[in-house]
Structures are given as C-alpha cells and as structure tokens.
Symmetry: C2
Subunit: 388 residues, 2 copies
C-alpha cells in the first residue's frame, strides 16, 4: 500500500466514522428523550423512522437497542440493496416461506415478528419495547402483541418530535431539495405559453428533478384556470388560456429529504378580482410568517393568516390548514391549523401555505418553507412571489 | 332547446346512466357475495376500494348501504374535486375543527367516525357493518370500534376477491395502460446508447406517460450493469457501458388502472454467462405462463418457474415471488409465490416475473401481464422479450 493509498483509506475510514456517528447520536438522543421510563429497545415500522436512524429508506422493521448498532430487517428481495445502502446498522433479510438461499444472503426463513422476538431475546432485552404504533395496521399490531406480549409502549410521538428538530446536516439536504425545486419552478414559469398543457409543464418539472438526481417528494400539481380551485388538482390536458390563474405546487426529494413550495402565476393581465385575491393571500402569508418564532403556538400562526383573510371576507374559501412540518416525510410534525396543539421550536422546518379557492373560477396558493429560530424565522425558499 | 340539443342531452343522460349502472352493479355484487351473513352496510377506507364503487380515487371513507347510492366522505379540501369526479355516490366533506364554510360546501364539522355513525343511523342500519380492516391503522380502528360498537366484521377479502375478477370495462382500461407502458418501453429501448444514464432513460419514460395523460403506477426502475442485481433499484447517475445488462421495469396508470412490465436488455454483445441466465429466466417464464388457467393453484404456477430455474442451478438467485394481481392497485389479489393459498380464476390479471440476481454482477427479470381464462391464458403484453 503506497503512502497515498493509505491516506485515502484513512480519509474514507474517518469520513464513514463521522457519518456513522451522526446516526449513532440520533439513537442515543431517542433513548435519552423517551417520555416513558424503562424502554430498552424499539421496533420501528415507519421506513422514514428507519432511515433516520440507519440511512436506509426501505427498512421494513428497524430494531434499536440502547447503545448497540441498529438491526434492519428487510424483505429478502431488498437484502442486497439494504446491505449496500445502510450506513449504520446490520441487515437481515426475511422470507416467509422455505426457499433455497444465495451464498451471500443472510436471510431468516419465517415470520418477521418471530425474527424480531429472537433478536430481542438474543440481545437480552427484558424491559419495555417502544413501537411507532401510529404506523401499524391493526392486523399487524395484533400479531406483534401476540408475539411480544404486553411489553409494548407507543413511542410514535417521541420519534416524531426528535425528527421535527432538524440538525445542520439535515438542513443542508433540505436546502439542496429546495434549490432543485426552485430550478423546476423557474422552468415551469418559463413554460407558461398560450396552449401549453398542464401535463407538458409537469414533464419539464419531472425532468429537472431527475437531472438533479432527485425525485418528486409528492405528486406535482399544475392547475390552470378553473382547475386551480382544487387544492390537490392533477395535471391534465387543460391548455393555458389568456387570463388563467396557474397554481404550481412541487417538491423534490434528495438524500431522503423533501422540499415543498407553491407559486400562483397569472397568464396575461390580472383582473381586478384576481389581484384582490392574490394580494389577500400574500398578505395572509406575510402575517403568518412574521408571527413565527420558537415558542409560538402553531395554532396562533394559523390564526394570523386567517385573520387577514377574514378582513378581506375570504376565510370561507381557505379550505385547509396553514402548513406542516417537512423533512424525510412531506407531511410530518408539527401541524399548523386551528386545532393544532403543537408549539414551534428552533430547528423545525414548516410550510406556510394559505390559499383561497373559488368553485368554477380558480384559486391562489402561496407556499414557502420556513426555518423556526429564536425570536424569528428564516424563509428558506427564495423564489419571487409576485407575478401580478 | 333545439332537437339536436335534446338528442345530445339524451345521449349524455343515457351514457351517464350506463356508467352509473356499472358501479351500481358492483355494489350489488359485493352484498350478494359477502362471506358473512347479515351485513347491512360497509365502511371502506382503502381509496382503491372507494374508487371501485364510486369512480373517485381519493375517497377517505366510502359508505355502502345495501341498495342505496354510496356516500363518499372526503377531507374538506378535496370536497370540490370529489363532487366533480365522483361518478356514483354523494359527497360529504369533513373538517375536524370549527371553521367558516363556503356557500357551495356540504361539510360536516367534527370527527369522521362520528359522521359515519350519523349516516348509518340516518339510513336505519342496525345489523353488522363490514370494514376493509386490513387497511386500517390500529389507532383508527380502535376509534372506529369505540364509535360503532361491536358490530364490525372484516370484509377485506370479500372486496379483494370481487376486485380480482376484471370486467370488460376494466380490461379495456388495463389494455390502455399496457399500450402506454409499451410505448414507454419502446422509447426506453431506443435510448440505450453508450453513456446515457439511468435517470435520462427514466425521464423519457415519465414523458411518454404524461403525454398519454397517464402517470407512473409505481416508481420506475432503470438499472444498468451491477445495479440490475437490486430488484427495486432506483434510477441513478450510472452511465451505460458496453456489455451491461439493463433492467427496465415500468407501468402506467390511466383511468385508475395500472400496467406493470419488465424487460431485460443487453447493451452490446451478450457474454455466454449472460445468455445462459437470460435463457433460463425466459424458459422459466414460459413454463409458468403455460401452466396458467382458471382453477390452477397460484403456488403451482410459481413452482413451474422455480423448477426450470432449479434445472439450471439458479433457484437460489430468484429472490422474490413469481407475480401478483394488477388492477386499481399495482399489487392486489392474487399472490403468486410458493406460500400462496390463492386459486387463479377466469378474469384475473396477473404478472409473471421470474428473475435471477447476482451480487456485483447484475440481473435478469422478464415480466408480462396475463389474463387468466378457462383452460389457458392470454398474454396481454406484446413487447418482444429477446434481445440476445
């Protein structure tokens, strides 16, 4: 081994140690912050929870035992990919029926929950076992209870809270996802020519994502004219016409992390009514963003937007909540709506997306991503908001 | 009203009556075939089940009461779209918190399960209530039980069985989805030039889908060389090189229905080893398809493929099941694997997709969609299989 090979080897080794450390600290952090006492291990079924602790995002079940490396249990057909992509943790495949195995495979033949039980026994786990229960189907949960007994406790909220506060590394990934989303939004806005269809604009958005090694973080929305009255419109054959309102809602996913943003364009000259609605939504968004700071109640931020719309007589046409947390999942903690019990905290990344929708007419929505900080917030999305 | 207006009006009226009838007959069919006696109503939470009975695919909860029109319960923000797109059934929105409503909205303020209870009471339902329980998260199911009491019975399998037998109308939609998938596969095969990346091929596939008013029915797989060893590979930056095996697995969704097909190409001249693996997989697929007919056990069809691979010493490298039903969902009843208890029946549409995967080397998978018939089957996908 030459001196340079040795240096490169050392660099790779230390880099991978650093990355592993990021994940190891997350596991430690979870156990130190659990709201229930005496939890010795966790069984996580949400793949995004799995990714958060192991770096692999198709994990079927992730077992965390205090102070040990995670165990990632995947269906047999994902075994090789999991082995390559898991950053922190060891991988075991599972196959429910008897079958001949390849020489490189570490696969358990039997039921997943039996494998989970074996691993927990092997690790000497006797205490409570935390489960992200909100993600489990009722039949699966019943099987899990049957296999592991009554030691299960729900830790869905603990994991969600931990994930809601973004670290520096996570913010870097989110900012990259935003950069790609903004490139796609630029492309979309440049496509708005008479006769173009919603689908054609969506094609260009897909393309920008792929060329940046990203994918959609949700189904892209491109809605022209009266279609903009549907908050979850699907891109269709509708052609762009003079005077149309245009809603584009898109997000990229890269390194596992999502972005989410919406702009409303006008093709041609805005009518007085269109301008009035647009300005009301923009004013509502600004009021909401101004109210965001660590310690603020999410419901109050929602109310700030709703009060502006009320002043304009438009509250009845704002038919959804103000926003949501974004990270590994496109919708995660916290929730910003009138019924939310969440409190905003430093390091949370949330959307602020008031909208007004009129049947057979169209709609306006403006959505930005915001980082909650002490005393204020930082708007992460920088794409211009006004086209009127 | 002129005579022509009247004729057109009549035509539209009768056409919509015909379409409604398709859905009405499905509801009748479900109640007549239920495996439990005394079920008076059903509460369906799987959106695909909702679509099957109402024509709308974002239904949050679909209530069916024997001999009545369905009730589709959607989140408030989907109300307008649901009202426009629901073919059979009436739509009610639901919003968990107090809010001012628009003049055109029919929205219940409160909890979804309370609304469900009110509707069932209003319709005088006193008997058992069928639920597609397998789709319910444990916490939601517990709330449902708390609200509706102990009258719930699981009808997941009844609905899945009904949906597994495709009608003429459904087959037309599936054939259209296949036509689009084959156009995309043609485009993908024409893209395979030296230096092209997996992502670039995926872009062209996305584009063909969108231009045909379709979307992906699952995440497209384009895998070059050693990446083809991962059955669920994601398209990445990998460039195409001489001698690469290439797996392309794609499907379109149109009118709600999915297609699903895989081809394995070779870029350049196939090595002796590549040809051997390819021919074994093709032979396995042919044997399996030849064994498909109404009344055949799905496990036997899987075995037909596995026996061919065994002859070639390759069973250990076939790391998944042989296939699955396709329809509104990309994976639905029946399941074709060694542990399956399903029996193939006329009108089922299934995939047949044996594969062989070698670590750090690559893989071969060939997947077609097949319609089960009396005494034989029809291969619905016609794209050529051999590129060696």
């Amino acid at each position: 081994m030459s001196i340079w090979d040795k240096v490169i080897f050392e660099l790779i080794f230390w880099f991978s140690m650093f990355v592993k450390n990021v994940f190891r600290r997350r596991v430690e952090s979870l156990f130190s912050k659990l709201s229930v006492e005496g939890v010795e291990a966790t069984v996580l079924v949400n793949p995004y929870n799995g990714f958060y602790f192991t770096g692999f995002d198709c994990a079927m079940v992730t077992i965390l035992v205090r102070a040990l490396e995670p165990v990632v249990i995947v269906p047999r057909l994902e075994y090789l990919r999991a082995k390559r992509e898991t950053v922190y943790g060891e991988v075991i495949g599972v196959n429910s029926y008897e079958v001949e195995l390849g020489p490189y495979e570490r696969v358990f033949i039997g039921k997943t929950w039996d494998l989970v039980k074996n691993i927990l026994n092997e690790y000497g786990v006797r205490g409570k076992i935390g489960v992200d229960r909100a993600n489990l189907k009722v039949d699966e949960y019943n099987k899990l209870v049957k296999t592991l007994g009554e030691k299960l406790v729900d830790i869905t909220k603990d994991v969600a809270s931990l994930r809601s506060i973004k670290s520096e590394e996570e913010l870097k990934a989110i900012k990259k996802a935003i950069e790609i989303a903004e490139e796609a939004m630029r492309k979309a806005s440049n496509c708005l020519e008479k006769g173009v269809t919603e689908e054609e604009v969506a094609i260009e958005i897909d393309k920008i994502f792929r060329l940046n090694h990203a994918d959609r973080s949700f189904n892209t929305i491109v809605a022209f004219g009266e279609n903009a009255a549907y908050p979850h419109a699907k891109p269709g054959k509708r052609e762009l016409k003079e005077g149309d309102l245009v809603i584009v809602d898109l997000g990229a996913r890269i390194y596992g992390y999502c972005s989410d943003m919406t702009r409303t364009f006008i093709y041609g000259r805005a009518s007085e009514k269109q301008s009035r609605i647009f300005n009301a939504v923009l004013e509502a968004q600004r009021a909401a963003i101004e109210s965001i700071k660590s310690g603020e109640k999410a419901a109050n931020v929602d109310r700030a937007a709703r009060e502006v719309l009320k002043k304009h007589g438009l509250t009845a046409y704002f038919n959804h909540g103000l926003g949501h947390g974004v990270g590994l999942e496109i919708h995660e903690q916290p929730t910003l709506n009138p019924a939310s019990k969440d409190t905003l905290l430093s390091g949370m990344v949330v959307t602020v997306e008031p909208g007004v929708y009129l049947e057979s007419y169209g709609g306006v929505r403006i959505e930005d991503m915001v980082l909650v900080m002490e005393g204020s917030c930082e708007i992460l999305t920088s794409f211009e908001r006004v086209f009127f």
